[in-house]
Symmetry: C2
Subunit: 158 residues, 2 copies
DNA sequence: CTCATATCGTTAATATAGTAAACAATATCC
DNA sequence: GGATATTGTTTACTATATTAACGATATGAG
């Protein structure tokens, strides 16, 4: 049994619980796993890379050109007020532009620039590489199973 | 195919991507699933209930009485500076006390009070009920599989 | 024994992620 | 035409976390 800390005899003596309750909660395991994947994502994409949520937004804009901010917020499951800063960043980096939509002057459609599309393709490759490396101890079948089970949880969305 | 919004013909016309890239990333699915479980946890435990991290800390203090704050932070995978507020809250609610440890005057061991132990038992039951209800569309076997797969990701901890 | 080094709990400063509420402009419904 | 709803935005706030520093204390090397 590994010690928590080499010199801490007191803690050592108390550490007699077979399996802590915490480890049996899905929520706790989900969070711990998420923290690992998220921090590896950031490490892999580097200083001037994308934060996960910015990458996600860019991904959807590239795949759904002319999506509106409200629509994008809905897809991402966040408030539209929270999306403003994300779109600001992407527009500031020249990866998309806000464009007027004829027929509804409240709306501004989000359109990826050429640079946005190529940058996204590169970032996507980097994210795939990060996941392939980090999750190399899972087989393809295990990954598929994990996705399916997470999908069952996600069925509660909306 | 469900529409994103009943009147948004423009978005409708563009929404032709079979499977968005995002949905194929484990990290994204992990995050979306985590958000659902977390927010249901909070809803289930109510206004004056515990935040997930406070519940986790209490759980470990009850199961590892006399754990130190540094030790607890290590178990939770957070900085010890971040643990201070959590322990303050639990102590303020009378669920644990900081106690001097003879032999090392730097350390204060965390000991659950009687109220802390009973409150934890109730909270644990509430959390189990929340997970049972939220995850009722997963079989026991599926839950076990999910735990095992999350455990493989968690093997990268430390 | 003493001195360098490490650890403990804590505070303060900062960063990030997210919500809620309000707003003006515009669109839709009856 | 007038009530109602939606869009993008700003502002204020909350929660969660990290880093760096601190004084107090403990440990290890010589």
């Amino acid at each position: 049994m590994a010690s928590l800390r080499k010199t801490n005899i007191r803690a050592e003596l108390e550490a007699h619980v077979e399996t802590p309750d915490l480890e049996e909660f899905i929520g706790y395991n989900l969070k711990r796993a998420y923290v690992i994947v998220q921090s590896d994502f950031r490490r892999a994409l580097g200083e001037d890379g994308f934060a996960p949520r910015v990458f996600s937004a860019l991904s959807l804009v590239v795949q759904y050109p002319n999506v509106t901010q409200s629509g994008l917020a809905r897809m991402l499951g966040i408030e539209r007020s929270g999306l403003v800063a994300i779109v600001d960043e992407l527009e500031g980096r020249g990866l998309l532009k806000r464009t007027d939509v004829p027929g509804d002057r409240r709306v501004q459609a989000l359109v990826p620039t050429t640079k946005g599309k190529t940058t996204y393709a590169e970032a996507r490759a980097a994210v795939r590489a990060h996941e392939d490396r980090l999750l190399s101890n899972l087989s393809d079948e295990e990954k598929a199973t994990l996705m399916a089970l997470l999908g069952k949880i996600r069925s509660h969305e909306d």
